[in-house]
């Protein structure tokens, strides 16, 4: 699976990014990540999840996962992240913070 993760926005407007090819991860890391993708039912989530009223300065997550033949993108504001998606976003935020996956 190829994963493109961007956390943009926030008051500072500073983006965090991670591009991950799960095939290149260690087996236990690959399994942990793919389990979180599966637990999130990622490919069944709507493409946009935004709060009403929209508010301002919240982090915005953009996540694209390609697992041929499927490719799906979800854009979601931080205050309306579905519970089952949260562990995946937290995991990818940690990977992005390492700076190894830009």
């Amino acid at each position: 699976m190829r994963i493109e993760f961007v956390r943009s926005g926030g008051f500072a407007g500073i983006s965090l990014t991670a591009r991950v090819d799960s095939e290149k991860l260690a087996p236990d890391e690959k399994a942990a990540l793919e389990k979180k993708i599966s637990d999130a039912s990622f490919f069944d989530l709507p493409g946009q999840i935004k709060p009403t009223p929209p508010g301002a300065d919240m982090f915005e997550y953009s996540l694209t996962i390609s697992s041929p033949p499927r490719t799906h993108t979800v854009i979601v504001s931080e205050t309306v992240v579905p519970d089952k998606l949260r562990p995946l976003l937290d995991h990818l935020t940690d990977l992005a913070r390492t700076g190894k996956y830009r």
Binding site: F11, P51, G55, M58, F59
Partner: protein, 377 residues
């Protein structure tokens, strides 16, 4: 209708009537109110009428009501109440900063623009501090302010900078006024409005004129280990930080460097550098305290003229038009607004305000009448 009042309405511009309402004695204010009563019907002085209404209605009990909560490092909002309006300071510095910053922001809007809280109707100001753990952000969720403690490595707590607090509260003001769409140019204008009035809260607190102010957003928010002075510079967008971890401040200073991106709702925190600099240039061009004239122009344009879809060109047109209405066509103030937008690469195309026909007999003694109103004894 006596002759003097008739004369007043054709001479005294709306912003001066505002000033009389705010600063004059009882007799002077009555004259100004009489004047607005007449001129409002004849000339549609919407701004003066709004001020009169604001003056007459909630002056006796303006609705400053702040409540600060803590999320105790969780995500539940609003969380546990820590300090309500009028209560003594807490032992928690973030609680007090959120309380005091909300008060300074309320005071700017009330004292200078006669706006009673975010909605103009005394909306309570709710803030939550200690949101999540190591949380590097502050936001407005449509109903309240939320502040993180920062991670301590890159960011300090977000209540440390009063302009951040003014910024978040101004998102509430915008929501109740133009409700600028939080996407692309209208979103960048929404962000810029928050930076403008956030920095005005700070400048007013420090009693700084435009040339004394640093025009930085989020000064003190970055830790000493970061190479940078703040998160944004309104005076010199793109120069606030340049750090191995955070990267370089991406803000453009003019339209030639506008950033097209799908991230960050279309770059709302990036392209805000352009209108931010237009405001700085306006304030620097006019001189004095930025909240008095430049701030007034932006506030009135945002309140009365902006729509949810207003873009940068619209903002340039409408602030130029507003400056003409408040201070006169081709006034120094209007020229400052025009020049500012031209410098950032946008030429205002504001319709020219037609000169108002003046009743006969009114043009001979404006200076004496103004002196009498302002009571130069």
């Amino acid at each position: 209708m006596n002759h003097q009042v008739n004369c007043l309405h054709c001479i005294i511009p709306p912003h001066m009537l505002d000033s009389i309402l705010a600063n004059g004695n009882a007799a002077q204010r009555k004259l100004a109110l009489d004047c607005i009563g007449i001129s409002g019907g004849i000339r549609g002085h919407r701004q003066a009428l709004m001020s009169a209404v604001a003056y007459l209605t909630p002056l006796t009990a303006p609705g400053k009501h702040r409540t600060v909560y803590t999320a105790n490092n969780g995500s539940s909002l609003p969380g546990q109440q820590m300090r309500d309006e009028g209560q003594p300071p807490s032992s928690d510095v973030a609680v007090n900063e959120a309380y005091d910053g909300a008060g300074l922001t309320y005071d700017l809007y009330w004292d200078v623009y006669q706006r009673n809280s975010l909605d103009g109707n005394g909306l309570h100001l709710d803030s939550t501090v200690h949101y999540q753990q190591n949380y590097d952000n502050a936001f407005w969720n449509g109903q309240q302010m939320v502040y993180g403690d920062g991670d301590g490595q890159l960011f300090n707590r977000f209540t440390i900078a009063v302009d951040v607090i003014g910024h978040e509260l101004t998102h509430g003001v915008t929501q109740y006024m133009s409700n600028l769409d939080y996407q692309s140019q209208s979103g960048a204008l929404n962000e810029s409005f928050s930076d403008v009035f956030g920095t005005l809260v700070k400048q007013r607190k420090l009693n700084q004129t435009a040339d004394q102010a640093d025009w930085l957003i989020g000064e003190g928010l970055l830790t000493a280990s970061v190479h940078g002075v703040a998160l944004r510079s309104m005076k010199a967008p793109g120069t606030a930080y340049d750090d191995p971890v955070l990267g370089k401040d991406p803000q453009p200073a003019d339209m030639a460097h506008y950033v097209n991106t799908t991230q960050d709702n279309g770059g709302v925190h990036i392209n805000s550098g352009i209108p931010n600099r237009a405001f700085y240039l306006t304030a620097a061009g006019i001189g004095g305290y930025a909240w008095e004239k430049a701030g007034k122009i932006w506030y009135v344009a945002g309140r009365d003229k902006f729509k949810n879809t207003t873009d940068f060109q619209g903002a340039a047109d409408l602030t130029t038009q507003t400056a003409g209405e408040l201070f006169g066509t081709d006034s120094a103030e209007q020229q400052a607004v025009k020049n500012a937008w031209i410098t950032v690469g946008i030429t205002p195309g504001a319709p020219q305000t037609q000169p108002q026909p003046q009743p006969s007999g009114c043009v001979t003694a404006p200076a004496a009448i103004i002196r009498s109103i302002f009571g130069g004894s």
